[in-house]
Symmetry: C2
Subunit: 262 residues, 2 copies
Amino acid sequence: MFVFDEDTAVERVSEGVWETAVGDRWRLGDTPNGGYLMGLVGRAIVEAVPHPDPLAATAYFVRRSVMGPARVEVEVIKQGRRHSIAQARLLQGDGEVLRMTATLGDLASAGGPSAVTVRAPEPEGADLVTPGDPGEREISRRFDYRLTGESAGFAVGAPSGRAVIEGLVRFSDGREPDPLSLLVFPDALPPAVWNIRPPAWVPTLEMTVHIRGIPAPGWLSARMETRALQNGYLEEDGLFWDSTGALVAMSRQLALMVDEGR
Amino acid sequence: MFVFDEDTAVERVSEGVWETAVGDRWRLGDTPNGGYLMGLVGRAIVEAVPHPDPLAATAYFVRRSVMGPARVEVEVIKQGRRHSIAQARLLQGDGEVLRMTATLGDLASAGGPSAVTVRAPEPEGADLVTPGDPGEREISRRFDYRLTGESAGFAVGAPSGRAVIEGLVRFSDGREPDPLSLLVFPDALPPAVWNIRPPAWVPTLEMTVHIRGIPAPGWLSARMETRALQNGYLEEDGLFWDSTGALVAMSRQLALMVDEGR
């Protein structure tokens, strides 16, 4: 069994209620990673509805979570022919940690027109490096990263001046990507904004991931970018392609840059 | 009083419950526009919390709404110092039409670093046109549109081949934009995908809008793009700048292209 599956295991204890534990292998300092929490909550949602794949999932982060016991309460809002819609609350103690809404469907049976203009970067041709993590974040051990030298500048005190991170990523224990785990990758890379501002805490307010295809085994190619930092608020957009070059996920989060000095 | 304000008026009838009516001036055929519904629901959310501005708002669309009476039930999830988080359900008859979650704050008092790399297009220099609407959609009358000739190709049987719509937009009755009304604009332009596929119904599954600034009076400059249509599913991203060139909103929706022949 792989770490992601161990640490997102949920047990149904009554109608609409799952018990679980927030693991300590996905933390930044003492704080569990938000993308990991989306994967955990997504696991319960997928168990609650007949459709297998999250197509869109949105989390609003209410307060910091902690390692340890947690409960997921799932409300199925709609079960349609093509899609289900569900919502979940992640609860610890008496408090709500995050609220997530998702539309689920069946990616394998989707049919209709296609036209894609956004292509994977080809970092294979670049000098890829495995960056050090200035924050020595535990979550960094869950993934293998191979970033372009420019992207990894933040890690060696030479930020590129462009709020972009490009490279390859995969689980470090050999688990292959699937639609559920694509909820985790968009929050797994170092913040792109670290290439224009000193590394600082960048807590997520809202994150939405669109799962656009079932990923083939192998590395994911990722491109993360922040185009607008405004009065401390920033978006980070992510694009993920599988090893065949197919676009499999798009993500966007709104986050707040917390300056050390404040 | 302006049409947007008339048609998003809500009346609090009990703790957490607002009554309203879905107006008939924002419809596409017989279906009320989704962005309009976000503005309507957003109005109730803003009344429910102490913070004045939506910073992020996400709607999951559950079923088609109809014109006429509706109820908005708002749950305040958190009231913090800097942010509130709330969720609302829009109900008609016994059914839920949409579920919206939002983080609210105070844009006027936000402070922190800024760095913006995405600039408004300058359609003033281009030959702007007011497109006809192939769908003769009632909602089109609520806005003035001035699109680049390339963007407006879909309207004259000459789709540009690029899934992009660029131009200027404002309310047609002179109402100035504000943070709440920025929830409406991202769903107000013709679908960018109409420039690569024949105009068809493109219902929204999920839409998130980030409000990044308080807009100055005047035209909004807009850029809408679809980069990936995959098996009938597509995202549409929107960027909105105010008349001073400040970025004021980013939007993304996941939608489904419903082919006429299916």
